[in-house]
Symmetry: C2
Subunit: 221 residues, 2 copies
């Protein structure tokens, strides 16, 4: 990857999907793959796959395809899979608790290490993740202190909608650089902070709309 | 909306976001809005907003903007907000249970009415959603019968990865037309079935990648 090349946002969003698929292939002992096979498996067209890979300096050979383990170790570095990313959940409701327990299974590089909630009662919830580790819940007033002490720069926002912007401002003030936002509102952050929205309701409404209007929507391909 | 016009997939995915924002404005008593204000609030550029709206036959007037309540009732019809969509959760683990309890708060047109799991013990879990309704859990062998009897055509897939494709095949055989897929694999379905992927791990890895490579990624705008 040449650092002067800018990567389109859409390409960046596909990187973890490529990485996950290549890991599966590698685990299955598959050595070589071509762009059509990748395309077939992950449902993006082959031209998109080739274009995406070209941003990182190609790596494939016509008629041979790509070397799976070379590609995997390359994407692993790009995605910082070799560094542990400590993450905090803010808002320990049903969804927050589910995330803390599941801890993004299938990844070894993300660990939700603590949760925060404005409700004092939440501090007594005993949460154990899939690796058997206990994950503590603190009062949200300890946010800045705990995040700094643990070098946490990534947060998952699962607070109720009416608290979302206020808590976002506290996260930004505490030095958070990335927010995975589950609240349905679009939060406002300084340009130095990245937000990735996961709006489950919007996802579901989009699906229903697609089902109801099947013939009126152009295929993604 | 003229039925012969095809709507791009990206536009369709933005519809629920427009709808949600317009509801908020309407609740706040706001009567008029222009594309720049919409753009500012939901973080898509104004040209995108105008182009999206144009697929549905415009509705705005230069210098006046859009009438909020007219636009809202229009999008409401487009999104079938006036019909109740019954949904089943398949895979009643941590995430499945959180979804069943939260039931997509902020919408009145989606109701998760039942869950299915291969584990008999899950049938004894007492789940009550935010409206105070009890949501039953059935064994997955009752899938086809229960879905048919309740006219359910939308399912949320929260099973472990290794079961995802097998359960998908069962859902398709049971007449499901839309799947909100939380498993990290890309499931294969016939072309008559719509899939919307919500890959939380990919979302988190993308966020981390954005944070780590801030200067190398082109802005979405």
């Amino acid at each position: 990857m040449t650092s002067e090349n800018q990567i389109p946002r859409a390409t960046a969003q596909r990187l973890p999907i490529y990485y996950y698929y290549l890991s599966t292939l590698n685990d299955a002992g598959i050595k070589r793959i071509n762009s059509s096979e990748i395309s077939e498996a992950i449902k993006f067209d082959a031209a998109t796959v080739r274009r995406d890979f070209s941003y990182f300096g190609a790596l494939g050979k016509r008629g041979f395809g790509y070397d799976v383990s070379a590609l995997l170790s390359f994407f692993s570095k790009v995605l910082s899979q070799d560094k542990l990313n400590k993450v905090a959940v803010v808002g320990v409701g049903n969804l927050g608790q589910a995330l803390m327990k599941n801890n993004f299974s299938h990844t070894s590089n993300i660990e939700i290490v603590m949760g925060f909630d404005a409700d004092d009662d939440k501090r007594s919830i005993k949460l154990v993740n899939e690796m058997g580790k206990s994950v503590p819940v603190y009062h949200v007033k300890e946010l800045a202190e705990r995040l700094h002490a643990n070098n946490i720069t990534i947060a998952i926002l699962t607070v109720p909608e009416k608290a979302a912007q206020e808590v976002t401002d506290q996260l930004v003030a505490a030095g958070i650089k990335g927010i995975l936002n589950f609240s349905p509102i679009r939060i406002t952050v300084p340009s130095s902070v990245r937000v990735q929205n996961v709006d489950l309701t919007t996802g579901m409404q989009t699906l229903i709309y697609f089902v109801d209007n099947f013939k009126n929507i152009k295929s993604a391909k």
